[in-house]
Amino acid sequence: MTKVTFIEHNGTVRNVEVDDGLSLMEAAVNNLVPGIDGDCGGACACATCHVHIDAAWLDKLPPMEAMENSMLEFAGGRNESSRLGCQIKLSPALDGIVVRTPLGQH
């Protein structure tokens, strides 16, 4: 199990625990974290799973593939901490990761 802290745009904090191997998007959807839709189910096709990764955790993630980077180009509020939640697989190395959800998804 990996612990994830989601901080919503309005400041609401949610600590969840999910099975290893699930994605950050699934962690959010399964725990009803608002603001992460995951419409395409993780196919990297919709960009409705945009999240901001806490600076302390950013370096611990595998680098983005070109597809993910491109899909993010049009995500609202994109910055250096932006990732697509569906492309990040949870593992013990990410236990405790802190993630912020954006204002809205497209």
């Binding site: 959807v29 839709d37 597809m67 049009f74």
Partner: protein, 420 residues
């Protein structure tokens, strides 16, 4: 207080608890349940689904789930706990057999009758069946549900011979998965190219060549006139009288919308359940969403029936909002994706009636976008490994943009700037 707050604030009398019944427990239904609660609906929600499983995503059925790399739990739209938390009565493995639109009641196949204030018909569709001799052959399958995949899986063994009837997206996705698993795959398509109804010839030829490179045999302009053989072997008979041996046959020849309930209840249907831009059917209190609807699309000034996750989700949201008295009219650029081998196809818009195709990039590079225009207006895009073009085009299509073909084709203009 059991109605949506916004709809009930003006009413003085105590509000009677309302019931929403959702018929069908698929993609649109799952979204509608979540959206009803998000919109503040506080009454009773009854979710009735003919399949014995919670709402799940179908796209992986021809992709990772078929390949066996994704377990069933990961297909669920929401985890089981959600339905408890959201106080949803789930009646799964139960079908609605009758709808009385006047008395606002449904009858279930176990004999029960349930009354509703609002009803959502989210009945989706079913695979079109082959209509030829041998259509009841035990080795012939269709792919729409998890149960269908369960019936197919055992036969997906390396070396087995698979004949796919129909070269649409789903058929080609199955071909890709099966070829990777080491099956000998043949695709039979009646039209002159695969994907004939949805893409231009250049894109269709591209996908044909990709599949051929992966060892798949593609035969276009080939009809199927029958299936022979006993339970141990299927023999697919083509229009030219040829017989192709198969251990497994899967037909993917389209979808028929599930409209029987609606039709019998007197709701207006026309290649789908006819709804307005708020997903209202012709009967008061009855809504419909997803693959089963025939709905207006303002971007194309026409009525459409779509088969896509995006449409099911958006109509699920719209219908839920409308039930809560909130107008959230459906105004969407249709979009869809397909994964085959290392290729991601994202398509936005509808190319119906196009008079020009502009290519950006070349099919040889396996990364290109085909833009469809009519009278200079961008109607649609097929983007292969070109996510930025896909996203830009979606915005341009929504704005009914007229754009110079030279600009679209010019790779010196970065894709992102095409919008500017």
């Amino acid at each position: 207080m059991s109605r949506c707050p916004s709809a009930s604030t003006l009413e003085a009398a105590p509000i009677v608890s309302e019931t929403v019944i959702i018929v069908g427990a698929g993609q649109a239904a799952g979204q509608a349940v979540a959206s009803l609660r998000q919109e503040g609906f506080d009454g009773r929600i009854v979710l009735v689904g003919a399949e014995p499983v919670l709402p799940y995503q179908r796209p992986p059925l021809s992709k990772a789930f078929l390949a066996g790399t994704l377990p069933l739990e990961r297909l669920f739209l929401k985890p089981p706990a959600f339905y408890e938390q959201a106080r949803v009565d789930t009646l799964l493995g139960v079908a609605v057999t009758e709808l009385d639109a006047t008395r606002r009641q449904v009858r279930l196949d176990d004999g029960r009758e349930l009354a509703f204030d609002h009803l959502l018909l989210a009945t989706g569709g079913r695979a079109r069946r082959l209509d030829c001799p041998g259509a009841d052959h035990p080795r012939l399958h269709y792919l729409r549900t998890v149960a269908d995949v369960d019936g197919i899986r055992a036969a997906l063994r390396p070396g087995a011979r698979l004949v796919l009837i129909g070269g649409g997206y789903v058929g080609l996705e199955i071909a890709a998965v099966a070829a990777k698993l080491g099956l000998a795959v043949t695709v039979l398509e009646a039209a002159p190219t695969v994907l004939a109804r949805v893409t231009c010839p250049a894109v269709a030829r591209f996908f044909e060549s990709v599949h051929r490179q992966a060892g798949v045999t593609i035969r276009c302009a080939t009809t199927v006139t029958g299936i022979e053989g006993d339970a141990s072997l299927a023999r697919v008979v083509t229009g030219d009288g040829e017989r192709i041996d198969a251990d497994l046959v899967i037909a993917g020849i389209g979808l028929l919308p599930n409209v029987k309930l609606a039709q019998a209840a007197g709701l207006v249907c026309d290649n789908g359940i006819v709804v307005d831009e708020e997903c209202r059917t012709s009967a008061p209190g009855i809504f419909s969403a997803g693959d089963c609807t025939q709905h207006p699309n303002a971007i194309y000034d026409s009525r459409l029936r779509l088969e896509s996750v995006h449409n099911a989700i958006e109509q699920g949201k719209t219908a839920a909002a409308a039930m809560c008295g909130k107008a959230r009219p459906y105004r969407q650029v249709p979009w869809f994706w397909s994964d085959q081998y290392d290729l991601k196809l994202q398509t936005a818009g509808l190319n119906r009636g196009y008079d020009q195709v502009v290519m950006r990039g070349s099919t040889d590079s396996r990364s290109f976008a085909a833009f469809y225009l009519r009278d200079g207006r961008l109607l649609a895009v097929d983007a292969v490994n070109r996510p930025v073009e896909f996203m830009v085009a979606k915005a341009l299509i929504a704005n009914r943009t007229v754009i110079a073909p030279e600009r679209l084709a010019d790779e010196l203009i970065v894709a992102k700037d095409l919008a500017g």
